[in-house]
């Protein structure tokens, strides 16, 4: 953004010569090297397509170069963000400092450039967040000049409106403060960074997902979503959850973070941390997540694939210290991010569906 060659809106024509070529080539948009240097790696270039039967396809008409999959996903997400801003009175963006919400906010800055992001961000603070993530959240909001609305799980526990769970996990407790913040602020659309590849229930959810007066999702009664025409109509009391990166995978998110050079909280990268084993995951030692007497604390080189509550998010052993390392690690991973790191999704096969029906993200 710093090396703009234009100065005024009238200056475009003369600036055009200096403009970079649009990234229409499948590979040009990516800043990745063409090979990892591994002997068994082959470049991404596909061999020529075999001849197809259709006369039209073999005709001489030149075809335009394709956008890369990342460019296509980015354009789709920006289109959705702009539609929601144009059609709703008061949108907000769920922002936890987690990688998906950071990508969402980055897309929003691109959608409205050079203007400010025209909506506040909303964070449901469980009180069990990693301190460095809260710090990252505050710096990001400051940098972009955004308003931050916080819904506090702790306040609801203190006032007796919510009760601490026996397993100590606060993730499922976020629903009530979330719905309260939506109602109090009269948000009619809430952007989330949910992706369909995360979970089987999310795979069935619409990009614009209608919620009733109680914030509930009704998976059996969803509106069909056709072409790129999104229907955001809702009645008083209802609101809409919007998921512009529905069609992204975990790997897409990381490739995009690399390509766009997006800053993330440091715990997404390999670091040494005191951990103990529980439920087959490495849990961080912290004030809200102390080890039991039987659990042995050791120092390991770990990173986080998802960032939620300290009380339910596990770390994975990893030496991936840079975004490039993480991209390669994710591409080669044999286990899903939620399976690897979320205790709350191990409760049952339909854990996510049940939480969503109650108004969860």
């Amino acid at each position: 953004m710093s090396n703009l060659s234009i100065t005024t809106t009238d200056g475009y024509a003369s600036a055009a010569d200096a403009a970079p070529a649009p990234s229409l080539d499948g590979n040009a948009a990516s800043s990745m090297p063409s090979s990892s240097g591994r002997p068994d790696a082959t470049p991404g270039a596909a061999p020529a397509a075999p001849a197809l039967q259709s006369g039209r396809l073999s005709s001489a008409a030149p075809r335009a170069a394709r956008l890369s999959s990342l460019d296509t996903l980015e354009s789709e997400a920006i289109h959705i963000i702009r539609e929601v801003v144009a059609e709703f009175e008061k949108p907000a963006l769920l922002f936890s400092g987690g990688k998906d919400s950071v990508v969402m906010l980055h897309l929003a800055t691109k959608a409205f450039w050079p203007g400010k992001v025209p909506f506040p961000v909303l964070h449901v603070d469980t009180g069990h967040n990693f301190p460095e993530v809260i710090d990252f959240r505050d710096r990001t909001v400051e940098r972009l000049g955004l308003k931050l609305v916080v819904g506090s799980v702790q306040e609801f526990i203190d006032s007796g409106e919510l009760a601490e769970r026996s397993d100590g996990t606060r993730n499922p407790l976020q629903t009530v403060p979330l719905l309260d913040a939506i109602q109090r602020n009269k948000f009619d659309a809430v952007f989330g960074g949910g992706r369909r590849d995360e979970d089987k229930a999310r795979a069935k959810e619409r990009i614009l997902s209608l919620r009733d007066e109680f914030g509930q999702w009704d998976p059996r009664n969803q509106r069909p979503e056709l072409w790129n025409l999104y229907n955001g109509r809702h009645t008083v009391g209802q609101h809409v959850r919007a998921f512009p990166i529905s069609n992204w995978t975990e790997l897409d998110v990381w490739r995009y973070i690399e390509r766009e050079n997006i800053e993330l909280p440091g715990l997404y990268y390999a670091h040494d941390r005191e951990v103990f084993a529980r439920d087959g995951m490495w849990r961080a030692v912290g004030e809200v997540s102390p080890p039991r007497d039987t659990e042995q604390v050791i120092t390991k080189t770990v990173r986080y694939r998802t960032v939620g509550d300290m009380s339910c998010t596990g770390a994975v052993e990893s030496s991936a210290a840079t975004v490039r390392d993480v991209v390669i690690e994710v591409a080669a991973s044999t286990i899903t991010e939620r399976g690897a790191t979320r205790a709350d999704d191990r409760i049952s096969e339909a854990a996510m569906e049940d939480r969503k029906k109650d108004g969860y993200f």
Partner: protein, 474 residues
Amino acid sequence: MSTDTFLPGTAVEAAVLSTTLFRFATAGSVDDGKSTLVGRLLHDSKAILADQLDAVARTSADRGFGGAGAAGVQAIDLALLTDGLRAEREQGITIDVAYRYFATDRRSFILADCPGHVQYTKNTVTGASTADAVVVLIDARKGVLEQTRRHLSVLQLLRVAHVIVAVNKIDLVDFSEDVFRGIEADVQKVGRELGLGADGITDLQVIPVSALDGDNVVDRSDRTPWYDGPALLEVLETLPAADELESHLESFRFPVQLVIRPQGALAPDAVAGGLDVEGYRDYRAYAGQITEGSVKLGDQVSVLTPGQAPRTTTVTGIDFAGEDLAEAVAPQSVALCLADEFDVARGDTIAAAGTIRETSADLYAALCWLSPKPLREGAKVLVKHGTRTVQALVRNVTGKLDLANFQLEPTSTLELNDIGHAQLRLAAPLPLENYLHHRRTGAFLVIDPLDGNTLAAGLVKDHPGDHEDERYSI
């Protein structure tokens, strides 16, 4: 984990590299093995991760799934990979469209898995509306059924560029070439009746597969030596996407989503990054997604505003978040600057100059009715077209399509899963274009003004008096 240990070769390396995106959908009848095919594609392309596979294997064993797996491997119910909702798993059926993601070293795929038996029209229309290709399954033991004809009819109507018919369970007919050739001939005959694969816009191909054993799904099978065509995944990897086919058209189309006019409220991070604050004081650009064609700096364009004659101007800027582009193509999201300071607002369309006829308030359309609430003549509805939503009156319903014989029958109402023709009067004129040639600007939603629900998918047809393209067979 060490990255060295987990880089098993080309697929991972290529997935790290940039690929292109291809969207496809699956459609089929009850018990034709569609979920198994989808599971097979995901499994054999290694899109299923260990924890998901473990969960499926556990559930398969719990339920006593007994299918004979290939090569003596413990059989798992691949359908469980795609049935995501509690009710689906409990009832053993697929209720709703599910989206799945996988990648090969050539492409990233978005798969819309459309259930066949519950509300098949609704689900197939939904999945097909964004698909570059649709895979239709046929059970080799049953051949072309009425349901197959219905599916192909819907796909022709929605102008899906590539239709692939997978003749499944070919193992259960002993890999018989005669059986396959017979079904292939029947499919081609239906295709000819519909104009599918013979209209210069769509293509149709037929592949023998066994989803259960994997024949011709990812790799070519040596059990079908009489078939010398590609495996299903090879086809999906090499077909041109719809955007590729349409972006060479001269017809640039750009519905305006909103006007970007910061008026001094510039993004602090952009300013901190050195943005010329003075230069952007009067910045004004029109944000949207190119739905079709391409645009270059200096192009002549028309601005279409309902009720006004088209206004012609020049493109002076194609902005994308601080990059100034010389050219952009569908489906890029950009912001356009124009030479003349017209009053341009959300709902207007910017198009290549002289390529769009005047706006019209009379809408002739095919409607895929998706709501349990039937359509009645005289109903007041909302029409969402591009970025504009207008009120509309349903003047009359002129016919209902019999999907089994492709004939139009007289009717005055449309019910759930019906496809029919109707004439609507719009409260404001819109730049309507025939869906046959313009898959985006020819599409619209019919919305219930009372509860806001989507009632129908609409496809714009030419006015009856105009020259009707004979390829548009219904």
